[in-house]
């Protein structure tokens, strides 16, 4: 039953034009970034590495496909929650605003099955978005710029990952990014059950993410106690997979927190939808 419901929900998602906005936007941005780096990547890179160049002699294919993919992931993953919220925030509220929720709930299917199918469909969409981002960026990056060691520039250090280790790290990073974005999926989905209007959960999700991100990036002591509790703090944990050695303790801790958020939001969603008055 769940499988059939999931198929229907996926059909609903992919029959709406707004669902393709994310894929198109990602493809366009990847094309723009790769074109810009192909044309003027050396200037950009020399600007980034000027501090290193002052003390060291750097040699090798630094501007390679893996670095381009990393830059794209780093730039676009911040925008991904918007694309996820655009679809997942509409899954229940969209049905509520159009009135189809009543039709759906009167069918001989449990509400729990409906919500599970919608949640799985939302997660599938998120996963496809992450695969699209990672896959397209990596494929075209390697085709245009060729593989090489990955130089990861952080604000306070540089990590150089051997080329042989990059592929599995990108794969795991995409998996971790999917878990991170699942928090956005479940959060916007949860808000969707509270509203009969699609705009509210989408905008509310983005507003919360923006507020949390700003708090997370500001180096103000008063925020330091709050930061560990914000899911946005842990959503960037995929970046730690490109450190050597990988801080597995922090990665695991962040993943546990993200999963806990997902479970929490899902429980609220189930409770809310099972109790939801669809007649009013």
């Amino acid at each position: 039953m769940i499988y059939r419901l999931l198929k229907i929900e996926l059909y609903k998602i992919f029959s709406r034009p707004r669902s393709y906005i994310g894929f198109v936007a990602i493809a366009v941005l990847i094309f723009i970034i790769q074109l810009a780096l192909f044309v003027d990547g050396k200037t950009y890179l020399s600007f980034l590495t000027q501090q290193l160049d002052a003390s060291f002699f750097l040699q090798g294919n630094i501007l390679n496909g893996y670095l381009i993919t990393y830059i794209i992931l780093q730039t676009l993953i911040i925008q991904m929650p918007l694309m996820v919220a655009l679809v997942c925030g509409d899954l229940i509220s969209g049905e509520a605003s159009s009135g189809t929720i009543r039709l759906l709930a009167t069918k001989p299917i449990s509400r729990a099955d409906i919500i599970t199918a919608k949640l799985l469909a939302g997660s599938c969409y998120t996963l496809l978005l992450v695969i699209w981002l990672g896959g397209v960026a990596l494929l075209f990056g390697l085709m245009i710029f060729k593989p090489g060691d990955l130089m990861v520039l952080s604000s306070d250090h540089v990590s150089i990952i051997p080329a042989g280790e990059c592929l599995w790290r990108f794969f795991v990073a995409c998996l971790v990014a999917f878990i991170s974005l699942s928090v956005v999926t479940t959060f916007s989905f949860m808000l969707s059950t509270f509203s009969d209007n699609s705009i509210v959960p989408i905008v509310a999700t983005m507003a919360v993410i923006i507020i949390f991100t700003i708090i997370g990036t500001m180096d103000v002591p008063i925020f330091n106690n709050i930061k560990p509790f914000l899911f946005t703090t842990h959503m960037v944990v995929w970046q730690l997979l490109f450190q050597d050695p990988i801080d597995t303790v922090t990665v695991n801790k962040s993943l546990l927190i993200l999963v806990a958020y997902c479970v929490g939001f899902m429980l609220v969603t189930y409770y809310r939808f099972l109790k939801k008055d669809i007649l009013s």
Binding site: I78, D149, S154, D156, S159, I160, G216, D219
Partner: protein, 263 residues
Amino acid sequence: MRITFPFKPHPNPSLKERGIHSPKSNGLKLFHAFQKLFVSLFFFFAFHFSPFTSRAQTAAQIIDKVNHNFAKVNDYTADMNIHLDISFIKMKDITAKVFFKKPKKFKVKAEGIVVLPKQNPNYMMAMLQDTTSYNAIKTGTEIINDVTTTIISVIPNADTADLILGKFWVDANRGLILKSHLTTKSNGTLEIEHFYGSNSTYALPDKLIFTIETAKFKLPKALVADLSSNSSADDKTENKKGKITILFGDYLINKGIDDKIFK
């Protein structure tokens, strides 16, 4: 008031004044001459045949000896293993191949990214070979790894040179640099420890340890889209020292290298 009179010779000048020497004074003069000769011969033999011969060499002579060793090398290739111990660079050991050809052609080939000090391993040797471009002064001796070394300070003649002062601890007997201390305009102070093995006759080291001053590495978070790191107490440390250890192996010396490799 003191009145001075014009000089008047003594009415009875002495024998010496008249050019007549006594037999006693001639013997004394001869004795003094032999004494001088003996002392001179003693110092000559003492310096030239003692184990501390290097003390007698001038800075230029010692550098000539160093240059003489390296002058035997027309070209070489070697395998390199580079280990970085720099707080803000995290990377695994790198293996690379180094190519050198006289006078200054130098190339490192590796599959991945290579991080090396600005001054390549042959930087000093190339610099020391142009003896007209600097002044060398002996400034003392020091024992390094049970070897008595002569400290030679090198000051470039040109103001435009990147090197401000070079200090070399040289094993004068073997003509090998065991330690260098370079003060440069662009990179601050750089210390290099040299360890030699079977290729010491060519002045080619088996191991080099570069100790460099590293300024605090900081990039704007927005520029690198780094949302994961926060400033910590460690950030307050402005300058640190980092080490780069280079191990050389499988030297192929004077086997000929095609110029295409350096392009």
